[in-house]
């Protein structure tokens, strides 16, 4: 068996080298495509994810469940204190609930008085979180709803309480939510009591930073941060969180949503704002009765006549 194979060395090696260089060129091309024509590359990625991930969804679900169970079990040790804490919180919440119900009734009455019609646009689709981004420097999750459920790019995703991120990348049955904490996330926000506009930019830390505040001294820790709806990308007034200052004095937001444990997400259906393209036509008064001699040519004489009685009524 110990035969040396000269043909292998003569032809095999150069062929193999050619093959490897070819693959390298293809991969380099792929990287360049990703950089140059990013939307197309991301569509390719979404298609791959759409093919691969649902095929092992059956394995993901029980393992996720088991992992959560272990996490919960770790919290089991201080179950008594937690129970006490929850009881106290429940007491407080009951008071709030009462207040909320009263306010809701009052609100309903006032709305009824005003005959206000609420926008029916803000309905939502709920999806289950399938996977993480899996990489330490990306913050995104994959949902089990996609374009088949009507999900579109750019829609807002919330957990029960606050904004979590936006849809970026939709496949037929899956869609990716770019979390607010991802380094690529930029959201226009309003800081509530002062009404200042700012940009919320994620930097892969737990609390994203607030950039471009005009007068940072007007912002205090604890202020509410909501989406501003600038640019027409997001619906306005979705709760994001509260302002905190980090050790270096930079303004950050502690998110209201619990991004550490995302299970179900609501994706808000938002219709894109209609762009106003023209400046509008000039509104002219209706043409008055024809004055002066009738135009030559008998055929056109009939046309001004219907206007004449209307004009006469105006006068």
């Amino acid at each position: 068996m110990a035969r040396s194979r000269p043909s292998d060395d003569v032809y095999g090696r150069p062929l193999r080298r050619l093959f490897v260089s070819l693959i390298c060129v293809v991969l380099l091309g792929l990287a360049l495509l990703w950089r140059i024509d990013n939307p197309r590359a991301e569509r390719i990625r979404a298609a791959i994810v759409d093919r691969v991930v649902p095929s092992f969804e059956w394995a993901l679900a029980p393992l996720t469940w088991g992992g959560r169970l272990v996490e919960d079990f770790e919290g089991y040790t201080r179950v008594y204190e937690q129970n006490q804490e929850l009881r106290r919180e429940l007491q407080r919440m009951k008071a709030w609930q009462e207040a909320a119900i009263q306010l809701e009734q009052e609100n309903a009455r006032l709305l009824d008085l005003n005959k206000v019609q609420l926008s029916a646009d803000l309905t939502y689709v709920t999806g289950v979180v399938l996977t993480d981004s899996g990489s330490p420097f990306r913050r995104s999750v994959l949902l089990n709803i996609g374009s088949g459920d009507g999900v579109r790019d750019g829609w807002a995703a919330m957990d029960g309480l606050g904004l979590v991120g936006r849809i970026s990348g939709v496949g037929q049955t899956t869609s990716r939510v770019l979390l607010l904490t991802d380094g690529n996330s930029r959201i226009p926000v309003t800081i509530q009591p002062s009404g200042l506009r700012a940009i919320l930019s994620g930097d892969t830390t737990v609390s994203p930073a607030i950039d471009f505040v005009e007068t940072p001294e007007d912002v205090r820790a604890g202020d509410r941060v909501v989406t501003s709806g600038d640019g027409g990308v997001f619906p306005p007034d979705l709760l994001i969180g509260q302002v905190v200052r980090d050790r270096s004095g930079r303004l950050r937001v502690r998110l209201a949503a619990d991004t550490g444990r995302l299970e179900f997400l609501r994706v808000l259906r938002t219709t894109a704002a209609q762009p106003i393209e023209t400046t509008g036509g000039v509104i002219t008064p209706p043409p008055g009765p024809l004055q002066g001699p009738p135009p030559p040519g008998g055929g056109t004489l009939g046309t001004p006549q219907p206007d004449a009685p209307a004009a006469a009524e105006d006068g």
């Binding site: 035969r3 490897v20 991930v53 899996g134 420097f137 990716r176 904490t181 690529n184 930097d203 550490g260």
Partner: protein
């Protein structure tokens, strides 16, 4: 033709790579704060290429790497290219220096991992793409380096061993 044993290990490699990907994707909180985990696929590839290059042929590596890139939201193709080049470099080393001792091997792979991460950062910088924070990436590389010896020992236990001199490789030629 390659005997059944080689195919068995090729399948095992694919399964291991897929398992690593699978556990990375499990949604246990998007890894907030803390130390980023190691890049285990890279460790595995280095360890196997240095022991038995015929278990991890290029045509098996590339689909695994591209799939990783696509699912882990990395720039498509870039990390795959870097890892492929690293594996080719190590493959060539295997031909030259037989029986590299364990710690020199770890040293060699440490160098390779560092270069790979630097190249990745540099390439992203050159492409004017958004780069992850440098400190986080350094920690990521460090974790990978720390986990390499463990991966190597694990592979050894699985039966991925270097051929002794005089043994025949799978293609029947003398090593």
């Amino acid at each position: 033709m390659a005997p059944r044993r080689v195919w068995w290990f090729r399948v095992l490699f694919a399964v291991l790579a897929f398992a690593i990907l699978f556990f990375a994707l499990l949604p246990f909180g998007p890894g907030e704060g803390g130390v980023p985990g190691p890049e285990l696929t890279l460790c595995l590839i280095c360890a196997w290429v240095l022991r038995r290059p015929d278990y991890v042929p290029v045509w098996l590596l590339v689909p695994v790497l591209v799939l990783d890139d696509a699912l882990l939201m990395r720039p498509l193709g870039l990390w795959a290219l870097i890892v492929l080049l690293v594996s080719e470099y190590l493959r060539r080393r295997v031909d030259q220096a037989e029986q590299l001792a364990f710690w020199p091997e770890v040293g060699l792979v440490t160098g390779c991992i560092t270069v790979a991460f630097l190249a990745n950062h540099l390439a992203l910088g050159l492409l004017l793409a958004q780069t992850p924070p440098l400190a986080g990436q350094a920690l990521h590389a460090l974790a990978t380096i720390v986990f390499y010896p463990l991966t190597a020992i694990f592979s050894q236990v699985l039966g991925v061993r270097r051929l002794a001199p005089g043994e025949l490789d799978t293609l029947g030629s003398r090593v």
